[in-house]
């Protein structure tokens, strides 16, 4: 009996691991920044070059950082949803505009609405590298102590928001919508 059970258990284990592998998405690379503080940065605001946004600008508040660009198709897809949640969630969204032109980015916000409390302008992508950005849109959930709680790559959808974000926000704020 034991003679046959060992290969059988091994086979089951290998099949299980391979079956799990079918569902893994190799394009989603886990971020080493989770539970670490937001990278130190200092960037001009997209809307007003004289305003400087830093990693401390929205500290003490649970907030989102959303990486976007006008050349990014997924960003256009999620933009309406961002407009919806910015008022409903009670948490501010800081935009991080990645490798973009200022005039086109401003036009985008004029045409599609501006869900952001402010947008940091990163045309050469240097700060985005510090965030480990590799494919916009990316959305980071930031705790009030300035550490990164969660990162989502790909457009935000209702499913992602309800499944991944709302439980975590409820946890961090004690309620949803959040009262910062």
């Amino acid at each position: 009996m034991i003679k046959y059970s060992i290969p059988l258990i091994t086979l089951t284990l290998v099949l299980f691991i391979m079956y799990r592998g079918l569902d893994l998405d190799p394009t989603v690379v886990p971020s080493p920044l989770i539970d670490k503080p937001v990278p130190v940065f200092s960037l001009p605001s997209l809307l007003d070059s004289d305003t400087v946004i830093t990693n401390n600008s929205f500290i003490d508040q649970v907030h989102l950082i959303n990486v976007w660009a006008t050349w990014c198709v997924g960003c256009r897809i999620e933009h309406d949803f961002l407009n919806t949640i910015t008022s409903a969630s009670g948490i501010p969204i800081l935009g991080l505009n990645w490798r973009d032109s200022q005039s086109e980015a401003l036009l985008w916000l004029d045409n599609l609405g501006n869900p952001y409390i402010d947008t940091a302008f990163d045309p050469d992508g240097k700060v985005s590298i510090d965030f480990g950005v590799y494919g916009a849109p990316e959305t980071y959930l930031i705790r009030s102590d300035g550490t990164i709680a969660y990162k989502h790559i790909a457009p935000l959808t209702v499913d992602v928001w309800e499944g991944e974000f709302i439980p975590r926000i409820t946890d961090l704020c004690g309620s949803y919508p959040c009262r910062n």
Binding site: T27, V29, S31, P32, R99, G125, K126, I129, G132, Y134
Partner: protein, 123 residues
């Protein structure tokens, strides 16, 4: 006609001039070969012209100029993008199984083999 030919010549001249590759040092080229472009995952930074790859090459060049050695640059990248960014992941607690798994399997197979040999010798 002559003007046209001259202007066509200049168009080609400008074209080739603007696509001149940036001259990288030997250290940079060897580094770029070992780093994965996360946008197009089966290409190295050296092969990729994706915007992110261009940015990363620029930042790495700056670090090389600042005197960073290879390990410091790998650290810079894995701090931001994780071990996946390196084609040859380093030996850490996380990658322990990845590196030692095959040898552990070989060891297990060896002991199973010995056991079977002993059993068949008995029988």
């Amino acid at each position: 006609m002559q003007k046209l030919i001259i202007s066509i010549f200049f168009i080609f001249f400008i074209q080739t001039a603007s696509t001149q590759p940036i001259a990288y040092s030997e250290q940079e080229r060897v580094l770029f070969e070992q780093i994965r472009c996360l946008v197009c995952q089966n290409q190295s930074l050296a092969d990729s012209q994706a915007p992110l790859a261009v940015d990363l090459k620029r930042e790495i060049s700056l670090l090389v100029n600042d005197g960073y050695d290879d390990n410091q640059i790998f650290q810079y990248l894995t701090d931001r993008y994780g071990d996946f960014v390196l084609y040859k992941p380093r030996f850490t607690a996380v990658t322990f199984l990845l590196w030692s798994g095959p040898f552990i399997m070989l060891l297990i197979a060896f002991f199973v083999f010995i056991r079977i040999l002993r059993q068949s010798a008995k029988g």
